[in-house]
């Protein structure tokens, strides 16, 4: 089968290297018999290949040989240090990298930790004082400690107001009973306060007791005829 010059040249590399299939090889040989240009081309490629094989090796410089021996020695020492374990080598490398990375952060991190400890130490004292029980300094009739003896109070009017001033410790600074209709019995004036005092817990805001005035309104459940 006749082939073109282009096809013949396309097969030149495989032909010269002896890697061309027998049928294609015979086609190329037949083409080269009657095509002088292609025959010259193939001859040149063959000569070029032969010439390339005669190109002498570039001798390695002594300086490079020494460098390579140093590299080999270092790498061998590394292998011996890690006992040939690839994972240990990776682990050691990452430990080293993380150490290097963390060094600049060591002083700020320590400072931050110490600051937080100092702040906590300051506030822990405040927290302990604010949670202790408050002993109310109010006159408690018929009561002991925080348990008041709640006796019925006779209200002669529709509403009786108890105004109290509470300090920051939850203690009653002052109180007064107001009776707009003037029907509250004077001898029982202290009793609403006696009832109210133990029942009012200290109010806290942001872990601190707050002070202020409060008013309690007493309403009768039923009127005695």
């Amino acid at each position: 089968m006749s082939i073109s010059c282009h096809t013949a040249k396309r097969h030149s590399a495989a032909y010269v290297d002896g890697r061309l299939r027998a049928d294609r090889r015979s086609n190329v040989v037949a083409h080269l018999h009657h095509c002088e240009d292609c025959a010259t081309y193939f001859e040149q490629i063959s000569q070029l290949r032969a010439a390339l094989k005669t190109v002498p090796e570039r001798l390695i410089p002594h300086r490079l040989q020494t460098s390579l021996q140093v590299i080999a020695s270092r790498q061998r020492a590394e292998v011996l240090a890690t006992r040939g374990s690839h994972w240990k080598a990776i682990w050691d490398k990452w430990c080293f990298r993380i150490n290097e990375l963390m060094k600049p952060l060591a002083i700020p991190a320590t400072g931050g930790l110490l600051s937080s400890l100092v702040l906590f130490g300051t506030f822990v004292f405040t927290i302990s004082t604010t949670t202790r029980l408050v002993s109310y300094e109010v006159p408690l009739a018929y009561s002991s400690q925080t348990e008041a003896n709640l006796i019925p109070v006779e209200l002669g009017s529709h509403a009786v107001f108890l105004n109290m001033s509470i300090d920051s410790n939850g203690r009653t600074g002052d109180y007064a009973v107001s009776d707009p209709e003037c029907k509250f019995r004077a001898d029982l004036e202290a009793q609403p306060a006696n009832i109210a005092m133990p029942s009012i817990p200290t109010v806290f805001a942001v872990a601190q007791p707050i002070s202020g005035d409060i008013q309690i309104k007493f309403l009768p459940l039923a009127f005695r005829p």
Binding site: K9, R10, S12, A13, A14, D17, R19, T40, Y41, E43, Q44, I45, Q47, L48, R49, A50, A51, L52, K53, T54, V55, P56, E57, R58, L59, I60, P61, R63, L64, Q65, S67, L68, Q69, I71, A72, S73, Q75, R76, V79, L80, G84, H86, A89
Partner: protein, 216 residues
């Protein structure tokens, strides 16, 4: 049962190492940190690797830098080498890749640099006057022509030059070249063909510019 046997056989075939007995022994020595194994690896591969890298880069200093990088990588990666190819193919693959990376870096960073020192004596021999003999390829057997071949190689595109160097100077098989360059056999054939053709043209042009027109 037959299917299971086939799968087992296939898996055994797939996991077979491409290493020769000698390579396997050398590899075991390297992994165990045996001094003689390191010496043997250098003795066996430092010269051919340097020579090949020099052909690919055409500069001694660059070749030295690259060869150091190559062996550093070889020693560091020897533990993770998966033995799917021969030791020589693996080392050559690293060398070709390093040379390629170096050339890329060179073209990006140093292309604007101008050499201050004049060219050395070795380069002067390239400027010889060609003899108007019957065929320029008759010159191929003498020393001057070999120098011309080296310079002509520099003019060939790096991709094709690599294929020609591996095939015609290092005398590797097509399969080994395909493994080193990580390309198909067809691509290897094509690159060798085009590389040789480019080299033929460059050489013809240098030897006899008038004659080269007839070959193109």
């Amino acid at each position: 049962m037959v299917l299971a046997d086939s799968i087992v056989k296939l898996s055994i075939t797939g996991s077979q190492s491409s290493l020769s007995e000698e390579d396997a022994r050398l590899l075991r020595g390297l992994r165990a940190g045996i001094e003689s194994a390191y010496e043997e690896l250098l003795a066996r591969y430092q010269q051919p690797v340097y020579s090949m890298v020099y052909r690919l880069l055409g500069d001694q200093n660059d070749a030295c830098d690259v060869v150091q990088e190559v062996f550093l990588k070889v020693f560091r990666s020897v533990g993770s080498f998966q033995e799917r190819s021969s030791l020589r193919t693996w080392i050559y693959r690293i060398a070709v890749n390093e040379a390629h990376n170096h050339r890329r870096w060179f073209s990006r960073h140093r292309k604007h640099e101008v050499a201050i020192e004049p060219e050395n004596e070795e380069h002067r021999c390239y400027d010889i006057t060609p003899d108007p003999g019957p065929s320029p390829f008759d010159w191929a057997r003498n020393r001057e022509t070999r120098a011309l071949i080296e310079q002509a190689l520099d003019e060939v595109s790096p991709v094709f030059r690599t294929a020609v160097v591996l095939r015609d100077i290092e005398d590797l098989s097509y399969e080994e070249i395909a493994d080193i360059l990580q390309v198909s056999l067809g691509t290897v054939k094509s690159r060798i063909l085009r590389g040789r053709d480019a080299l033929r043209r460059a050489l013809t042009q240098r030897l006899d510019p008038g004659l080269s027109e007839a070959f193109v």
